[in-house]
Symmetry: none
Subunit: 201 residues, 4 copies
DNA sequence: AATGAATGAGCATTCATTCAT
DNA sequence: AATGAATGAATGCTCATTCAT
């Protein structure tokens, strides 16, 4: 129709991304239909192509948006706090963001497993900032002698995220007994001490 | 084009399942095309419907076949062996089977996250026998005082599988540093002792 | 397998025709499936092709069988009986046979309306003997002065069959109020006298 | 490929309906192929689904269009005109519309005989307005003493339509001697007086 | 910028017929 | 003669993308 001011453009883009997140969450990348996204956004089917190149591009954009939010969530603890506190804080923040877009997060996980690497490297980079934060936490934990030196901080960080993601996966399985809000504590406990008798001071 | 003996029928079914596993592995449930499966199996397109009801049914059958194999892999250790040995044995067996059909396993994981529960409950049941074995291991470990009593054997079993699956997930991510054959040891170490200094005897 | 005596062959053929009549009746020529026919006949799918050339050929054979039966039903009345009696007798016989295979008759009617003439001329010839009988009845009726001379006996015969078939059609429409057994009387009355006041002596 | 104005939409819809009527007429509901309809309409295959839900829905729409036209054809005669005139007028109008879409009418008749009642009740309702008109004609005819009182006006109306349809059927049979334009007179004569000598004043 | 009709490649599934056993 | 597995052409419907308005 006509020019539209910047404000409106941003608003339309946002509505499209929100609608897309819902649809992708519910149906997955392949299952979601472009029409449905547009309609849910209150715009016409063709309009989506004024904002994005393709359905896949929309998915990418939703992931990017999500990554932006995860990256933004950063809280501060005094450096001298115990690892446990730091890890809990990180995992809690992660779960908090995840909870907001839980269904989409699940869909993203799913797509990450198909990984035509061109697209999904991007998905994975969403967690890079998180990894970095955890890595720094583990460095400090090693310096403080809280954690052994057998593994590099990077390996340790990966391992922590692995436990968190494993629990997230478990949480998403039907009939799971793992609640989203229990994940940080469960993850940190297991990660730090394992289940052996006496491994927990 | 004609009557075939039982031997041939079994052989054809197997060829279809193998071809399907490949295609599903490469493209996922939705992405795989029935034609390609038949062609890869060296049979005509329609033939697949003499053996299965639908593409989805083929997927189910591949999962079932896989489950059968996982269920079959059962090794024996003297009951008095340490938990660590038992868990290593279980995880190794799991990884061994997984390695054989690795790409399909990945696809199955993926589909399990979409979970139209009717179909994918089935996928998950593939691991039930494994869960049961681990549960019994943990019972004995608790009796032997090797593992604390804060959690039930069932919870402990789930937790172990969670760590294994988390690592499997990690392994499947692009640029992963986790090799399939390292998973059992990594999982058991982390699961039993965590990463804290001194938590490992 | 092996030779089969004439008795068995005839029996198999009959079973196939009966099963086919049912299936065609229920689903029409296109809708009926060759498998279903064979199965209903208690024979294997391929066997049908030992008896008939094609599905269409089976249909033809069912029609022929039906025609044979209609042709067989011929009863005698004293030539001097009134037209009314003769027509009632003919129509009743027609309805009696029709009733036995009512659903197939309906399907045959249906197919006759699509009429790839090669096949369905045959269907129509099923009624030829009936037409001939009616024609002779009308000749006598004209001689006896019971019926006017404006139309030829052949035209009169066709017209009678038209009324009967129209009622049959009506009978087959959903929610019809016309019962099969009422058709002969209805047809004869209407055919002979119409509905005008006083046209009936 | 782009937005089109209302005018064009209507035009496209009409082209699709016309093309569909032809295809259905020639091949029947099952036999007609969606591609052929679109191609005959000069549109792409998918376009048809912008206007209709399914092939069956197209069929329904063609019937509805036809019904609309039949319902529209209404002529007026002075109420005091003899039944004969009124019936001739109705039947002629019916034949006139039928002639325009004769082949499709035949196909519709055919489908009505298969009658999965959900769809084909609709086909039959196409004639409801016609039935109603005839019913009113017969009421007046009974009041005027032109027609006996043995049957209700509704029964009389049905009977008239039965004769017309019987003749239509006859007309459609191969090698028929009944021309479409002869039907009204034939039907009215037979319906009012039958063929008995002297039943016609 | 927004619209939504048009496009057409893509695909699962059906089923009559063949023919080796 | 009987069997039933194999075949593959046929077809309705979906949906991402384009583009005239």
């Amino acid at each position: 129709m006509a020019r539209v001011d910047e404000r409106t453009r941003i608003e339309h883009r946002k509505r499209l991304l929100d609608a897309a997140a819902s649809e992708f969450a519910a149906k997955g990348l392949d299952g979601a239909r472009v029409d449905d996204i547009s309609i849910a956004a209150g715009l016409a089917k063709g309009t989506i192509y004024n904002y994005f190149d393709s359905k896949r591009d929309v998915f990418r954009a939703v992931v990017a948006e999500w990554a932006r939010r995860i990256g933004g969530e950063r809280r501060t603890l005094p450096p001298e706090a115990p690892v446990r506190e730091h890890l809990l804080a990180v995992a809690s923040a992660d779960m908090r963001v995840t909870a907001e877009i839980e269904e989409f997060a699940r869909a993203a996980f799913r797509e990450a497993l198909t990984a035509p690497p061109d697209l999904f490297a991007e998905i994975l980079r969403a967690w890079d900032p998180l990894d970095a934060v955890v890595e720094r936490i583990m460095e400090r934990a090693q310096s403080a002698g809280e954690v052994g030196l057998e593994r590099t901080p990077r390996e340790l960080a990966k391992l922590f995220m692995t436990v968190v993601n494993g629990l997230l996966l478990e949480h998403w399985l039907p009939e799971s007994a793992v609640a989203l809000e229990d994940i940080p504590e469960l993850a940190v406990d297991l990660y730090l001490h394992g289940v052996s008798a006496g491994s927990r001071s």
